[in-house]
């Protein structure tokens, strides 16, 4: 790497970051790379806002009597934590930041198909975020992130409408991003880049985009109907005037279960890139991994009823939803097995991105397997509405999606900023995140199994030890998230200059300079080999980078 640093070009090289200066050049940019950075700044802010609420909740729960905040405030904390983390961090995280930056780079294009729509999607996101934050500071919302009726209609006593409008609006940002990616991947691949030569990150983004395009409009119309019910006072979801509150849950989960895969599928794409690079091997079973993403996208639309096993839906519907939910575990398992098989006899090195990727595999596997308990009708009756659920989806969303996001940020950071970050600090942070995460959420599995319900501001004293463990883990986890914030900021100014391909990785994005020029590639690339052509160690082909 020292040699690479020495050959770094003089500082005058024009790239996308220094091509133009000034606030206008950012706020009116149509460059997908700059829009990715706009998103990066916005979602990082939202992540720490949502994280701050988690900190308050964990502090509150140290004491069984819950002395820190009023129980009503506690309701608002977990509601706003969920709303911000899901709609304003997790859903845009990998697609809007890494996807925006990488999709055109990985297919050898100059930009996304619709650059202005791309910028529009960021503005829509900002409007939605501002409305939601306004709702938060002007009283908050206490319905839970699910906006279940009648909490959100008949018995609403907080800023439900303003928050719902914010979420409604931000949904269109997600739709536009997905639409842009699908068209770009279909129509703008470089010569020679066939579908089955594409990096698996692109397959994952493609599958994600399909869910965004098909699912998000349904939650939009659902929120719209809630709004109309509140304005007109007619019975759409209100049983008092003939509406059906369960219909809301059906419509909501028709989107929100696939939305879980909007959050995890991109992470799976990132992991495929990192695992192959740091074990210097072709992915094991490329087509299986690619099609498993598509299978997840399709099956994800057929499993929503497993959120409703205890709502009194038909037992036969429950049976079918249970079977289908087990089915969705198969493509997920295929991925985990194939990543593991890729590691087998690879030349593995443990830089920071790889630590995150390995952490992902372990935590995602635990999150996935505990999902099977919830897909089983009988065990779900016991576990539904307990901390077991909280632990399960945090293993997927935080242990999975956030780990993959951080791994991806560390992997592509040299490409995005043109700077290297201190690897030792990054490894320490990855280890702290892994430990802190497990200490936070593993006790919650036990709490849930023992019967502690979620969303309560107080609990019986017998649960205190596990709760204190969880809160202690959360503080470690918080430190683990703050360390990268510090050294990544530091590296933007003081980090060593990054070479074009610091990891000797494959993929078109590594063949251009770091940071890339505004046009991405000075000469349009042509693809002549499959993805991940990492040769056997020792051959000239191995990690070839010239």
């Amino acid at each position: 790497m020292t040699a690479a640093v020495a050959q770094a070009p003089p500082a005058e090289r024009v790239h996308y970051l220094n091509a133009e200066y000034g606030i206008r050049s950012w706020l009116l940019t149509t460059d997908h790379k700059r829009i990715a950075l706009l998103y990066l700044a916005s979602i990082t802010l939202m992540f720490f806002v949502g994280g701050f609420m988690a900190v308050l909740m964990r502090l509150h729960l140290i004491d069984p009597a819950g002395g820190l905040v009023h129980p009503d405030t506690f309701n608002k904390l977990f509601s706003m934590h969920g709303i911000i983390m899901i709609f304003f961090f997790l859903i845009p995280s990998i697609p809007a930041v890494l996807g925006n930056f990488l999709v055109p780079m990985m297919i050898g294009a100059r930009d996304l198909a619709f650059p202005r729509i791309n910028l529009l999607s960021w503005y829509i996101y900002i409007v939605g975020a501002v409305l939601t934050l306004t709702a938060m500071v002007s009283g908050g919302v206490d319905t839970g992130w699910t906006f279940y009726t009648p909490y959100s209609t008949t018995y609403a006593n907080s800023q439900v409408m303003l928050t719902a409008v914010g979420v409604f609006i931000s949904g269109f940002s997600s739709i536009l991003t997905g639409l842009n990616f699908i068209v770009t991947i279909h129509k703008m691949r470089a010569p020679g880049l066939t579908w089955f030569r594409m990096p698996l990150f692109l397959w994952a983004m493609y599958a994600t985009s399909i869910i965004q395009v098909l699912g998000t409009p349904v939650v939009a119309i659902t929120i719209f109907l809630v709004g109309l019910e509140r304005i007109f006072h007619v019975g759409i979801f209100d049983p008092a005037v003939g509406g059906d509150p369960l219909l809301f849950q059906h419509l909501f989960w028709f989107y929100s279960h696939p939305a879980v895969y909007i959050m995890i599928l991109p992470g799976m794409g990132v992991i495929s890139e990192i695992i192959t690079c740091f074990s210097r091997k072709k992915i094991f079973g490329y087509t299986f991994v690619a099609f498993s993403s598509m299978a997840i996208a399709v099956i994800s639309f057929l499993v929503w009823g497993h959120h409703m096993f205890v709502t009194g839906q038909s037992i036969y519907a429950g049976l079918i939803f249970s079977v289908l939910s087990f089915l969705v575990a198969i493509p997920s398992a295929i991925k985990v097995f194939n990543w593991t098989a890729t590691l087998y006899r690879g030349s593995i090195s443990y830089q920071a991105p790889m630590l995150y990727a390995l952490g992902f595999i372990g935590l995602f596997t635990m999150g996935g397997l505990t999902g099977l308990f919830l897909a089983s009708l009988a065990t779900d009756v016991h576990l539904n509405g307990t901390y077991f659920i909280v632990a399960h989806f945090h293993y997927i969303m935080v242990g999975g999606a956030v780990m993959a996001y951080l791994g991806g940020i560390h992997f592509w950071w040299p490409k995005i900023t043109g700077r290297l970050y201190p690897d030792t600090w990054a490894r320490i942070a990855a280890a702290i995140v892994f430990l802190g995460f497990n200490l936070t959420f593993f006790p919650q599995f036990m709490l849930g199994y023992l019967g502690m319900p979620r969303r309560y501001a107080t609990y019986p004293a017998e649960f205190q030890v596990l709760n204190v463990m969880s809160s202690a883990g959360a503080s470690i986890l918080g430190i683990g998230y703050l360390i990268p914030l510090v050294y990544l900021f530091w590296s933007m100014r003081y980090g060593p200059i990054a070479p074009a391909n610091p990891w000797r990785a494959k993929g078109l994005e590594w063949q251009t300079d770091s940071p890339p020029p505004t046009v991405n590639f000075e000469t349009p690339p042509v693809v002549t080999e499959p993805a991940y052509s990492y040769g056997p160690p020792g051959t000239p082909q191995e990690g070839a980078h010239d």
């Binding site: 198909a113 639409l179 098909l214 409009p217 007619v234």
Partner: protein
């Protein structure tokens, strides 16, 4: 593609955005983008249609009674008007393809006129519903005239009218947006933007307009014709 020099050559005509390799790629991307957008619209209206279907099953007689309070003649006229506007839109796309500026502008304006007739009739219907107290929430309280239909007193007729206003209102909103798009196209056509064999915006706007028409083709029977009185 280092740029400005190539900007206006034949290989890189002025309407080709710089991030596309050629005009064909740009055209295909635009068309695919519009089809995907229409899929999101189908899912959007689909949610509304699904809940409509559920409540129609639950409260069939109320929905039939509500349907009897709509003016099926006006609905039929509007259906014909809208299908006519689809024809003029298709002719506008053809005029764009053949590069005939005059025909393009004429057909676009005709489409706008027919759209305007539709919205006018719709406004008349809304006004009538207001006068007879059939606007849910704000102005509910069916008048004497309505009570000539004995079933109108059924509970949940208000719910039917809720759906009537949501669905036709959302549809009318799409028409108004289409109206705006058409106005921009006329302005661009008058300035000669589409003279060089470039008609992608007309084509994708046409797709949008036809989609809005198809939504109405579903709305008309669902709202006006249920109840088996014909």
């Amino acid at each position: 593609m280092t740029d400005a020099a190539m900007e206006h050559t034949a290989a890189h005509p002025r309407f080709l955005a710089h991030h596309f390799t050629d005009i064909e790629q740009q055209f295909e991307a635009g068309t695919l983008g519009m089809w995907l957008f229409l899929i999101t619209e189908i899912m959007f209206f689909g949610g509304l249609f699904a809940t409509y279907a559920i409540y129609r099953l639950m409260y069939l007689s109320a929905f039939e009674a509500g349907s009897h309070l709509l003016d099926v003649k006006l609905g039929a006229i509007n259906t014909a008007v809208l299908i006519g506007s689809s024809l003029t839109m298709a002719l506008a796309v053809r005029a764009g393809q053949t590069g005939s500026r005059k025909a393009l502008i004429v057909f676009l304006i005709l489409t706008m006129l027919l759209g305007g007739v539709f919205l006018g009739v719709k406004a008349h219907e809304y006004h009538h519903k207001w006068e007879t107290g059939l606007v849910p929430g704000f102005h509910w309280g069916p008048t004497e005239e309505v009570h000539l239909h004995p079933e109108a007193a059924l509970p949940h007729v208000e719910l039917f009218f809720c759906y009537y206003f949501f669905m036709t209102g959302l549809h009318a909103l799409h028409m108004i947006i289409g109206f705006g798009i058409m106005a921009v196209l006329v302005w661009q056509a008058a300035r000669g933007r589409f003279d060089g064999g470039y008609y992608s915006p007309i084509e994708v706007s046409g797709l949008y307009w036809h989609f809005v028409d198809i939504v109405w083709i579903f709305l008309f029977p669902l709202l006006y014709l249920i109840g088996g009185r014909y």
